[in-house]
Amino acid sequence: MNSLDSYLFISSMLFCLGLFGVITRRNAIAVLMGVELILNAANINFVAFSKFNGMNLDGHIFALLVIVLAAAEAAVALAIIINIYNNMNTVNIDDVSELKR
């Protein structure tokens, strides 16, 4: 477990899983979870590059910032989802196609 490749492999797997979740899930909360996975894949990349390329703690600080950003994003997204539920009584994003009209 000492090579960069294995970290990048894990993070790309995580990214693909997240992307898959975002594309295929109908439930808005599940989509949000997929987004979290993508963000965390990016975090792993940051940390891995930081560790193997001798960049001190720059990558770690970026990762921490991304986690904070993800928390803020999740708060905003959940607020939107609650509003959608209140207005339309559903969290299924296929039913929320107001843009098309």
Binding site: L19, V22, I23, T24, V31, I93, D94, S97, L99, K100, R101
Partner: protein
């Protein structure tokens, strides 16, 4: 501002009558006395200005005086027209004639035209007429001369047709205008010929260029000169275009005086005098013959006329013939001298005849006689004691026109005849010119005294009229007295000469002949020298012929020793010809107007029946057909197929593309991922 009075005053003389025309024609009705005081005031002002110029000329006494000013009117690179005025002694004398006769006409008309229905219009047109004539006199180039030339034509048309309710007046005005057009075409051709060769319209460059002999010479110059002379033939009423002048008597009599003395017919002679240097010897021969024929022909016609104004009209034509004859034989200053003296006595003769006709009208009106012709001399006779002022003034002018010593006409006619005689002495083959000249002079004396005897002497032919004949009012007699006294020789020979037999004086000193610009012509000095040699012979001959003419008239119409009737019966054929004016009008009608009218009818038939019906209407039909077809094509082809097709096509494509836009976010995301994958794979290669 123009400071020089020698330029400013001529300009004022030129434009004041135009100003009076504009004021009187537009506002005459609203002004008191219909604005006649505006017209008379402006014309008398121009007369005073002309007097000032004349005095200046007299004080300077400079034969070479010449002054000019011009401005650029049209400037198109190569093509330039400068308009300007040229003031020299010739111009000043002519301006004096025009303004003097015009002033007299205005004053005379105050009484003569009183109560006329178009009183203000009459005075306005007089102003226009004077303006146009001054324009010709002052022109320094052919273009502005031609413009004024045409304006003279228009104003004569308006004035001859003043009483256009009368058919005869309307026809006479049309005849005058159209006959003048014939001459004007020649004038214009002459101008264009000169311009195309010389490249200038102004007189002096043209003279210089002709003198150079390079630009234009020989036959071309002769044709150009004859073309320009054709304008004078029309305007100065020369054979064969003399037919309009006698008919122009239909206008008011003061207009006749103005036209015959100063404005219209004088224009042609003035133009010939002004442009004399351009005429080649061969052109001058033609000019001389035209003048001689006109002089003799008109004199022969005048002998038998009974209408007092017709006699005067033909005498004008005859005297103009004299002037043109003088131009043709080279003594063109004599022509201008005769123009000057003739202007005075002929204007006076017309005023006198106007005065006679005026009182005839009144007398006939009082006698309730509406059938007698007030202009027929056979109805007159014995007016001498009733109208003494008119009689004596007319007698003086008659003596002048007949060429009796002590009177102005003697000097000028003598100068012309001397020039003609010397011309024939040097060119014996042209012996007819002086023969015609002296014969016409004899006839002039005869028919003018016939007029005097028939009108003023003898027993009244209609007694009821004579008791009502009376002298005319002051407005009419004052011009008569003024112009009558100007028929004495003394006014033309001062200040150096008191000999009534010699024409030496201010005129011959100040108006000196110029050399012809045509190379190879006789110089002015040679011509003057030759004429001087013929002087005494010409004087003797002209005295003889004048006394023969007067004696014959005295015997026939005063003493009645010789019966005019017998003679006319004996020479019935000639008498008929003369009485009917050599059938000019009839022959023109038969051989010119009628064929022309028939041609016009044929052409109009072709135009109307054939061209319009088939060609023009055919075009219409064809256009209609074409437009129907193109309309159909436009609607169903372009509109329906092409324009609408574009709409339909974009509609269909839009509908197809619409299916991609599902509105599902995840679909879009899928496209994005797929797109990125494609890019990555593409980059890998």
């Amino acid at each position: 501002m123009i400071e020089n009075p020698m330029i400013l005053f001529p300009l004022l003389i030129l434009f004041l009558p135009l100003l009076s025309f504009i004021i009187v024609i537009f506002f005459g009705n609203k002004l008191p006395r219909q604005g006649d005081w505006v017209a008379v005031g402006s014309i008398v002002t121009t007369f005073l200005l002309a007097c000032y110029l004349f005095l200046q000329m007299f004080l300077n006494y400079d034969p070479d005086f010449s002054h000019g000013a011009s401005f650029s009117w049209i400037n198109l690179g190569e093509f330039k027209i400068n308009l300007g005025i040229l003031v020299d002694n010739l111009t000043i004398v002519m301006l004096l004639i025009v303004t003097l006769v015009s002033s007299c006409t205005h004053i005379f008309s105050l009484a003569y035209m009183k109560g006329d229905i178009r009183y203000n219009r009459y005075f306005a047109y007089l102003g226009l007429f004077t303006f146009s004539m001054n324009g010709i006199v002052l022109a320094d180039n052919l273009i502005s001369m031609y413009m004024s030339w045409e304006l003279v034509g228009v104003s004569s048309y308006l004035l001859i047709g003043h009483w256009f309710e009368k058919d005869s007046a309307a026809n006479a005005s049309k005849k005058a205008f159209l006959t003048n057009r014939v001459g004007d075409i020649g004038f214009f051709i002459g101008i264009m010929l000169l311009y195309s060769a010389v490249g200038a319209f102004a007189f002096n460059p043209i003279f210089e260029s002709i003198a150079g002999g390079q630009a234009i010479a020989g036959t071309t110059l002769t044709i150009a000169g004859l073309g320009i002379f054709m304008g004078a033939v029309g305007k100065s009423s020369q054979f064969p275009l003399h037919i309009w002048l006698p008919d122009a008597m239909e206008g008011p009599t003061p207009v006749s005086a103005l036209m015959h003395a100063a404005t219209m017919v004088a224009a042609g002679v003035y133009m010939c005098v002004r442009l004399f240097p351009i005429f080649t010897p061969s052109a001058l021969i033609v000019i001389a013959y035209i003048g001689a024929i006109t002089a003799i022909l008109a004199a022969l016609i005048a002998v038998s006329q009974n209408d007092i104004k017709k006699v005067l009209a033909y005498s004008t034509v005859s005297q103009l013939g004299f002037m043109i004859l003088a131009v043709g034989t080279g003594v063109y200053t004599a022509a201008f001298f005769h123009l000057l003296t003739h202007a005075m006595f002929k204007a006076n003769l017309f005023y006198c005849s106007g005065s006679v006709i005026h009182s005839m009208h009144h007398a006939l009106h009082k006698a309730h006689d509406h059938d007698t012709d007030p202009q027929d001399m056979r109805n007159m006779g014995g007016f001498k004691d009733k109208m003494p002022i008119t009689y004596f003034s007319m007698l003086v002018s008659t003596l002048a026109i007949a060429g009796v010593p002590l009177f102005s006409g003697f000097l000028s006619k003598d100068a012309i005849l001397a020039g003609t005689l010397s011309f024939a002495q040097h060119h014996p083959e042209h012996f007819l010119l002086p023969f015609f000249g002296f014969l016409a002079a004899a006839l002039t004396a005869f028919y003018m005294f016939r007029l005097i005897f028939m009108t003023f002497h003898g027993n009244p032919n209609i007694k009821s009229i004579v008791k009502n004949i009376h002298e005319s009012p002051k407005e009419m007699t004052s011009p008569i007295v003024l112009l009558g006294s100007l028929s004495f020789f003394i006014f033309y020979t001062l200040p150096h000469n008191f000999n009534p037999m010699k024409d030496k004086g201010w005129f011959t000193d100040l108006i000196v002949p110029r050399n012809s610009a045509v190379p190879g012509s006789l110089t002015a000095n040679e011509i003057a020298e030759y004429a001087h040699h013929a002087h005494y012979l010409a004087m003797g001959l002209s005295l003889i012929v004048a006394s023969i003419g007067i004696l014959l008239a005295y015997l026939m119409y005063q003493k009645k020793v010789i019966s005019a009737k017998n003679i006319s019966e004996k020479f019935g054929f000639f008498y008929d010809w003369s009485l009917n004016k050599f059938y000019f009008d009839e022959n023109y009608n038969r051989y010119l107007y009628q064929p022309f009218l028939r041609l016009a009818h044929t052409i109009s038939w072709l135009d109307w029946e054939f061209y319009d019906k088939y060609f023009i209407n055919g075009f219409g039909k064809l256009t209609k057909l074409l437009s129907t077809v193109s309309g159909k094509f436009d609607y169903s082809g372009i509109d329906q197929g092409f324009v609408d097709g574009f709409g339909r096509a974009s509609n269909t494509v839009g509908k197809l593309l619409r299916n991609v836009q599902t509105g599902r976010l995840q679909n879009y995301l899928l496209f994005v991922v797929a797109g990125i994958l494609v890019i990555i794979i593409a980059q890998a290669f």
